[in-house]
């Protein structure tokens, strides 16, 4: 199976090369036979990439340490689940994993468009195949997971302890699913530019793919935050690390695209901008891959410096040149006569939303690359860390939060003063009441105060939208409130799913703002000794050390500190944090000691314990942190994902039939229902 896998990798490489060549030729020469051959080659490539993946998984599971990759990332005593996750745990394996996802996506894109977008498909197939060819070529020549050692080691090196976390099973796959999905919209954009078929058809084809990408990126990023929080032990979930930043960049531009696409659908505006956003999102995902794999920028997340960096740099450069050329030479085709009735309209609000999202993407990219630029200009090394990113992005994030509430309140085309007053009354009141209440309660942190007040404003907007929608249905159809609510959402999934996403954003921001009130304590405790501290809510906590224990488990030696907790005199259980030294099958240390944190999570706050070490013989040195509202961050992420699913969920047949019927009615009736449901 391993040999078959290795062979399959090379066959897949040839297949994708064929697919790219004949698809482009078929498109150029208008030869359906070549186009069909290219599409069949995509299906075949998918099968062979899957076989190559099966070969690697077989090697991992059977502990074939003659393979360099297996010996480098696993050991005989590695738990089974992490033996599987080693597939994407190292440079070479993750490259093959990327290829597998891209091949599957390519096959789905080709299959789902077998009867539609036929003018575009040769170029779509060719572009996706070209990207896949590059990844397979890099994998085969520079990062081959089937490369063998000259000797057979008795055991492997094992997996980095920080990767031995359930997050390893979920975070990288989701992130890769999101990053790789940006390729399909990019391919459609390239196809539309080459063929100059820049009407709405290509946008309709890519909207769902853009949503898929956004959904998985959202889930992947939030899971990565959770993983960092529970595993790395520094008490936070986002450090503005270059690799973290590189995952955020395509998310920001992808989010901007999902908003601006609505303006093109509704008003036929922003054609150039949408093409640029789709291309930028793909290029940023490749840039992120380049940053992670090249060693250009140091990060605790990145793979070791390897020769693939130069390959990715070249590929990125070529992609930028090719897409810039296509856009630059098609600008006239992208021009549309545009008119705007009013500066106060939803389309204008979307433009500002896009400005902020892309501005944030620029600031993150700028901060990530500025050390390189600064050294090139001044010759002096600098660090651009969290203080810069927070100073720049927090105000932008708050403006974006404000627009999240403002956008849905403004009508398309033109909003009258009367309409604005009616729409803004409730949300503004909610925001002002929240601000007054928090001030009265003594909150003085400016950014936190603004976050919660704007959050209340946005929730006021969302609640009002749902309330008006439900009421409209009740009035029109005589439905009960629950069924009106369900039908409202199920028949307007894009809109109300979007509001669920917005609600998730508010909850997420509330969680972020909670960190403004965190309290940290560095303490040394002898066995039986206690430490008392007040949390941000004013509750008194008492922590008593149960001493330090040392024990051995499957593949590690563990030193643990346990603290008995009381809040206002009430027992809260035991909090345990560990230092782990992982060992190989022969008991030899394999990596630097790692930290396992102890966390007591509630909706109010997390009590976060980090065992730093032992002083003397039994004195535990620990860092205790009260982190308010961390659970809200995970909840916010989950709500965003649920909202994304609602938006993505295919419409039922009944809805299609109804839409068809509505189309047969006079346009006035369809518009009347839409207006009634909009509540404006």
């Amino acid at each position: 199976m391993i040999l078959l896998g290795e062979l399959s990798l090379w066959i897949a490489l040839l297949m994708t090369g064929w697919a790219a060549t004949v698809s482009f030729a078929g498109g150029r020469l208008r030869r359906p036979d070549l186009v069909a051959s290219g599409e069949r080659a995509i299906y075949a490539s998918t099968v062979f990439v899957a076989l190559a993946s099966a070969g690697l998984i077989t090697a991992l599971v059977t502990h074939d340490f003659s393979l360099r990759y297996v010996a480098s990332y696993t050991s005989a005593n590695l738990p089974f689940v992490y033996t599987i996750t080693a597939f994407w745990g190292g440079q070479a394996g993750s490259m093959l994993f990327w290829c597998l996802i891209l091949a599957i996506y390519a096959a789905i894109a080709v299959f789902s468009n077998r009867r539609s977008n036929r003018e575009l498909m040769p170029w779509v197939t060719g572009t996706v195949a070209a990207v896949l060819f590059f990844f397979l070529l890099t994998t085969a020549l520079k990062s081959n997971q089937f490369a063998r050692l000259d000797f057979l080691p008795p055991d492997g090196r094992g997996m980095n302890p920080q990767l031995q976390n359930p997050g390893m099973a979920a975070h990288p796959p989701n992130l890769y699913l999101g990053l790789v999905a940006t390729t399909i919209p990019f391919a459609f954009a390239v196809a539309a530019l080459i063929t100059r078929r820049l009407d709405g058809a290509w946008l309709a084809a890519v909207r769902r793919w853009a949503l898929v990408s956004w959904f998985f990126l959202t889930v992947g990023i939030v899971l990565g935050m959770w993983w960092a929080y529970v595993e790395l032990g520094w008490g936070g979930y986002w450090a503005w690390d270059p690799v973290e930043n590189s995952s955020l960049l395509p998310w920001l531009t992808g989010t901007a695209f999902l908003h601006s696409i609505m303006v093109q659908e509704k008003r036929g505006m922003l054609k150039k901008w949408n093409v640029v956003l789709v291309i930028a999102t793909f290029l940023l995902s490749i840039l992120g891959t380049f940053i992670t794999r090249s060693g250009v920028i140091t990060s605790v997340h990145s793979f070791a410096q390897s020769p693939v960096g130069a390959w990715f740099g070249t590929f990125l450069l070529l992609s930028i040149i090719a897409s810039s050329y296509l856009v630059a030479t098609r600008l006239r085709d992208l021009e549309t006569p545009v008119e705007l009735e009013s500066m106060v309209s939803r389309e204008a609000a979307f433009l500002y939303n896009n400005l902020l999202l892309v501005g944030m993407a620029f600031s993150v990219l700028w901060g990530t690359l500025f050390p390189i630029i600064s050294e090139a200009v001044r010759g002096t090394k600098i660090t651009v860390g969290a203080p810069f990113f927070n100073a720049v992005n927090v105000p932008l994030g708050l403006l974006l939060l404000a627009l999240t509430g403002i956008g849905p309140l403004i009508a398309w085309r033109k909003a009258s003063t009367r309409n604005l007053k009616r729409q803004f009354a409730v949300p503004l009141t909610a925001g002002v009441v929240m601000a007054a209440a928090l001030l009265a309660l003594g909150m003085r942190d400016g950014y936190a105060l603004m976050t919660y007040s704007l959050g209340a404003f946005v929730i006021g907007t969302i609640a009002q939208e749902f309330y008006k929608g439900v009421n409209a249905r009740r009035r029109m159809y005589g439905e009960g409130a629950p069924s009106a609510f369900v039908r409202l959402v199920s028949r307007n999934r894009r809109r109300y799913g979007g509001y669920v996403v917005h609600f998730g954003v508010v909850v997420l921001f509330a969680g972020f703002a909670g960190m403004a009130f965190r309290e940290e304590f560095d303490i040394n405790l002898e066995p039986g000794e206690s430490f008392t501290a007040a949390d941000p809510y004013g509750d008194e906590w008492r922590f008593t050390s149960n001493g330090v224990s040392v024990y051995e488990t499957l593949n590690r030696f563990t030193t643990a500190s346990a603290l008995d907790m009381q809040r206002n005199g009430e027992p809260q259980g035991l909090l345990v944090s560990e230092k782990r030294q992982y060992v190989d099958t022969f008991g030899n240390p394999t990596f630097e000691p790692s930290t396992e944190v102890g966390i007591l999570s509630t909706w109010r706050q997390d009590v976060y314990l980090v065992f730093v070490g032992v002083t003397g013989t039994e004195t535990a040195e620990v860092r205790l942190t009260f982190n308010p509202l961390v659970m809200w961050v995970w909840l916010g992420g989950a709500l965003m994902a649920i909202g994304g699913l609602i938006v993505m969920w295919p419409q039922a047949e009944r809805r299609k039939a109804q839409s068809g019927y509505m189309a047969s009615l006079s346009p006035r009736v369809a518009e009347a229902e839409a207006r009634a449901l909009e509540g404006v």
């Binding site: 705007l340 860390g385 009615l665």
Partner: protein, 201 residues
Amino acid sequence: MTVPNPARPCVERRGFLIALGGVMASLPAIAAAQDANTLPGATMGGDGYIPVRRPPKPDAAAILSRAERDAAERKLACPCPCTLDVFTCRTSMPCGFSPRMHSDVVSLAEGGYSEAEILAFFEEEYGEVVRMAPRAQGFNLFGWLAPFLAILTGGLLIMWMLRGWKRNAADGATSDVHPLPVDATEDEMARLDRAVRGEER
């Protein structure tokens, strides 16, 4: 209304290639500056650690509270690949730098030095790279301002575009676009009602 001419590209190939040449010419300088945000050879093991010790001030007494001392540590970048500050890194990473840099900060604080002095001492030894964020002066000031300038420029550009589009509307540039009338008759609303309820297909 201008009809796009698909046969004629709006940007000439020569112009595109000249612009491309300019970009390519600037790449070597950027490439030469790679690996900029860490000390050369810095590892988790602490190779490259430089002690930052100064004699205590005469009649020294610590002027920084513990919280202020921690705040100073948060402004110092740990040179290991963690990309965290010294305060955050030292308890979480198996790092050879941050615990020793923490000891240096504690020693300097006990020697009566202020936060600004402590940061300056570290910068003397490690260079500007030891600050978590560059000081807002000289070229680095441009680094701080660039995101805001970019957004401001984008905002002005959008305003300019919106005004142009509004002028188009006033001129009736696309007079074929009209909002649909929204009034429906009772009969039509009743038909819609039946359709939505599934009584009629």
